[in-house]
């Protein structure tokens, strides 16, 4: 999406938040699974040739991970549905700086931190913050606090040391 698109109001938090939270009981009741996204990275790695030599990737992906592959494919299509059928997100989804070679390299490097970090923590904003806390996991509360601490520390360093601006 164009970085120059105008900023409009989002779907309000008091609608979006409860809808997202309801995915926990709905997914569990209908399909027996807790919503989670970051394990999908593991499933993709696990289907690479030779990956089975690494213990972490040695499991039956179709049996354990098919549901999640379908779920994240759905998330992707949800983005498509909004973008091309429901009036779009109504806000820039990237910055002009992301489109440079250096910007893309930064996104790639940040992506490594996302992939490594969520696998080490064994969950992300959906797996820990939404599903984990909904099922009263103390680890998930701690993980969620760490997500926010890590991100706000990065923001502080970016703004104070590198002169980064908040868009």
């Amino acid at each position: 999406m164009d970085p120059t698109v105008a900023i409009t109001d989002p779907l309000p938090w008091y609608i979006a938040g409860p809808l997202l939270g309801l995915f926990v009981p709905v997914l569990l009741l209908l399909t027996g699974k807790e919503p989670g996204v970051s394990s999908s990275f593991r499933h993709v790695c696990a289907v690479l040739p030779g990956a089975k030599a690494i213990d972490y990737f040695n499991y039956k992906v179709l049996k354990d991970g098919l549901w999640q592959i379908l779920f994240v494919l759905g998330i992707l299509l949800g983005g498509t549905l909004v973008q091309f059928g429901l009036g779009g997100a109504g806000v820039p989804l990237l910055l002009a700086g992301n489109l440079t070679g250096l910007g893309l390299l930064g996104l790639f490097a940040g992506g490594i931190a996302v992939g490594f970090g969520t696998r080490w923590a064994d969950g992300c904003t959906s797996g820990h913050t939404i599903s984990g806390i909904s099922n009263l996991s103390l680890s998930s509360v701690i993980a969620s606090v760490c997500f926010i601490v890590g991100g706000s520390a990065a923001s502080l360093v970016d703004r104070l040391v590198f002169g980064g601006l908040v868009p």
Binding site: L20, F41, A89, G110, S144, G150
Partner: protein, 149 residues
């Protein structure tokens, strides 16, 4: 994947996962949770939107799960198969990995769900984030025996 016992699935769950994913992705996108603007303003504590979305999701999740557990003692889904509750033991990675993910979330402005939703909107730069995330997950799997847990 030894956390939970997996039994072979019921066919109608397959389209359901796709449909539920579409709903989840559509809400993420429409709520602008996938936007760099909202994420950067959250981490600078300049705008409450993201915190309110996440907070309302958590409160709703906790309350609705309490109700579900009270109403459905069997802990099975509608097909009669067990609800698979993941074990989430505390370990070093909760903190170290959590902090690292937070830094990555700031720089990419995308947590894992939004990476997929962004690709779906045609924001092609998200492929760079996904590529990084896959490399990161692979590196984790490779280094896992050497990392504290």
């Amino acid at each position: 994947m030894s956390d939970t016992k997996t039994v072979s699935t019921v066919w109608w769950k397959l389209p359901l996962w796709l449909i539920l994913g579409i709903g989840f992705g559509a809400v993420l996108t429409k709520a602008q949770v996938i936007s760099v603007i909202r994420v950067r303003r959250m981490f600078a504590f300049q705008e409450p939107h993201m915190f309110l979305v996440i907070g309302a999701a958590v409160v709703t999740g906790v309350l609705s799960m309490l109700i579900l557990r009270a109403l459905r003692k069997s802990k099975t889904d509608l097909s009669g198969q067990p609800m698979e509750f993941k074990k989430r033991p505390f370990q070093t990675g909760i903190v170290a990995g959590g902090l690292l993910f937070g830094v990555g979330w700031y720089f990419t402005a995308a947590c894992p769900g939004p990476i997929y939703a962004l690709i779906g909107t045609g924001t092609w730069t998200a492929f760079a984030i996904l590529a990084g995330a896959l490399v990161g997950a692979f590196l984790y799997g490779w280094l896992k025996p050497k990392l504290p847990h």
